[in-house]
Symmetry: C2
Subunit: 344 residues, 2 copies
């Protein structure tokens, strides 16, 4: 699958957050219920454990929330394969909590200080509190999943989360490994990011009583969308500005984490230029970032990564062709496209 050459990075950047809000308009009411439920659940409760400070930390888990992409995937998948019901609202809450838990723990790992223009938990309270808040969010999510009438959600979520963690472990243990190739990179991305997106779409379809064919199609859709999303995210970490993205940028390079534009740039280079590039990657400071960005641009690394993101988004859309045509199917395809072109 190839992407039209006209999709250069600049044109790809034309998609905006407003577009996503428009795509979510048909599910706005249900997303509103996800928000309310998140607010209700993210409280410290009563008794001697529930000091104001504990409550403040727990509620911060809610403030970190962003686009609510994952609950939207649950709801749109349900509608594209049948009908969305109360279970889907609860599932939306569950997947958003799990996503937030991974973000909070990622921020410990990345030593990030900003996330969606909000101070990260580790920057405000320290790593200890971040680890515990993440664990709390995981536990709460698993508990809520267990209140559903069937054990399916617990199984799908448990298996997916396990895979997410393996992907993250593989990535962390590969930091500094400049030889990491595209296949390894994709295996990591499929696990650490795409798995949870696949899980959202799978659950949406399952709890709408969809056919096995529809569940499989939506699961594959979610996986491709997730890869598109992560490639675009990695591009942003290299090319973005904190003011626009609302989060710490340059974290990948600082941690010597190889991402697709860098992997492509590196394989285009030989001899001296390759050695010089490796030297830059090993340094990983602010000055190296702008130089690495220049080289990634010159060698076609940025364009290659952007093309790959869009190719995954296009394949995601193709996966939906077994479903009946309609506005929800269309919205999912657009969300995939958006994910490959996002700016924040």
């Amino acid at each position: 699958m190839t992407t039209p050459a006209a999709h250069t990075i600049e044109s790809a950047r034309s998609a905006s957050a407003a577009t996503l809000a428009e795509l979510f308009a048909p599910i706005a009411e249900a997303l509103g219920r996800v928000e309310s439920r998140l607010q209700t659940e993210l409280r410290a409760g009563d008794g001697r454990l529930a000091t104001e400070e504990v409550d403040r930390v727990v509620r911060h888990g809610y403030r970190l929330g962003g686009k609510r992409l994952r609950p939207a995937l649950v709801l749109l998948s349900a509608r594209a394969a049948g009908e969305a019901c109360d279970d889907h609202v609860l599932l939306g809450v569950v997947v958003e909590m799990i996503h937030t838990a991974t973000l909070v723990h990622d921020d410990v790992l990345d030593e990030a200080t900003l996330r969606r223009h909000v101070q990260t938990v580790n920057a405000r309270w320290g790593n200890e509190t971040s680890v515990l808040l993440g664990d709390f969010l995981f536990s709460k999510a698993f508990y809520l999943a267990s209140t559903l009438p069937t054990v399916d959600a617990c199984r799908v979520i448990g298996a997916s989360t396990e895979r997410v963690c393996l992907g993250e472990l593989r990535q962390t243990l590969s930091e500094g490994d400049l030889e990491l190739d595209e296949e390894d990179y994709l295996a990591i991305v499929e696990a650490k990011t795409a798995e949870l997106c696949a899980c959202c779409c799978s659950l949406g379809a399952r709890y709408a009583g969809a056919s096995t064919e529809a569940i499989d199609a939506l699961t594959a859709f979610g996986r491709d969308l997730g890869v598109a999303f992560q490639i675009a995210d990695d591009l942003l970490d290299l090319t973005g500005e904190e003011a626009a993205t609302g989060k710490t940028v340059g974290a990948d390079l600082a941690k010597r984490k190889m991402t697709l534009p860098l992997i492509h740039a590196r394989r285009e280079l030989v001899d001296g230029p390759r050695l010089a590039f490796d030297e830059l990657l090993r340094k990983g400071d602010g000055a190296s970032r702008s130089e690495a960005l220049r080289i990634a641009e010159e060698t076609g690394g940025l364009a290659y990564a952007q093309e790959q993101a869009e190719a995954y988004a296009a394949r995601a859309a193709e996966r939906l062709e077994v479903l009946a045509e309609g506005p929800d199917r269309e919205a999912l395809a657009m969300v995939a496209q958006f994910s490959s072109r996002r700016r924040a």
Copy 2:
């Protein structure tokens, strides 16, 4: 409830690890199956994610294991209330993984370097890997729980784990708060430690088809045992030696974490001695530890904490009186007593 004065700290120290092995003799075969299953499950699997290094980290989660107290509580509770079956072996695996996950994350929080004579994950691979290994263990445990025929296990485990995290959060946010009183301390201990012990006993009874009365009694037993265990653990952190306990000691004081012997010592002191004691607690270095230990001994703080641990153990045993007499009920009562007198 009071404890005979004859139970001084010295006599309490006579219980040994060999005793625990004896108590577990009737369930040795089942515990062996828990071990095998843990070894099978704690592998990185196949594919590009499963590098040798990833596998080594995941298997380390198994090596950190110790007494297997929690699987034993599941199995003995099942037998005391009915019969142990395959589900209990799986539940033993699940609770041990959750326990190990909390240990791995605790070691990040405590910056501990030794755990059961084995290097902690954070000391060997760093905090990032520790956070991820803990998350992997949590996820794997939840997934395994979801493979049981009913959703009960997921519900009980999800709710308990959530409470464990709240207790840990409350504790972390109270570090340096010298005013923390005995009630606050007990609320924290009940959540962070006793909740999972209660969960083990509850699951053992539930999956043995026990009556509500028996489930409630065993749950209350587990909770009291857990409090006894944690008070004894906190005593060890103050009084123990690394060579004997096989783990980093003095961590509580170093983190300005108030434990029962210190809380008691502090309330016995007034004016100058209180101010001097507070000064010591704020310092929290190695020299302060031996001085704080001396004061905790002189003011009766050590004896008070030991008495409380044994009182909780005695109350735990009383909870079992609604169950039919027998060797398993007896073994549980002995495990509670052991927990209040442990040396490692």
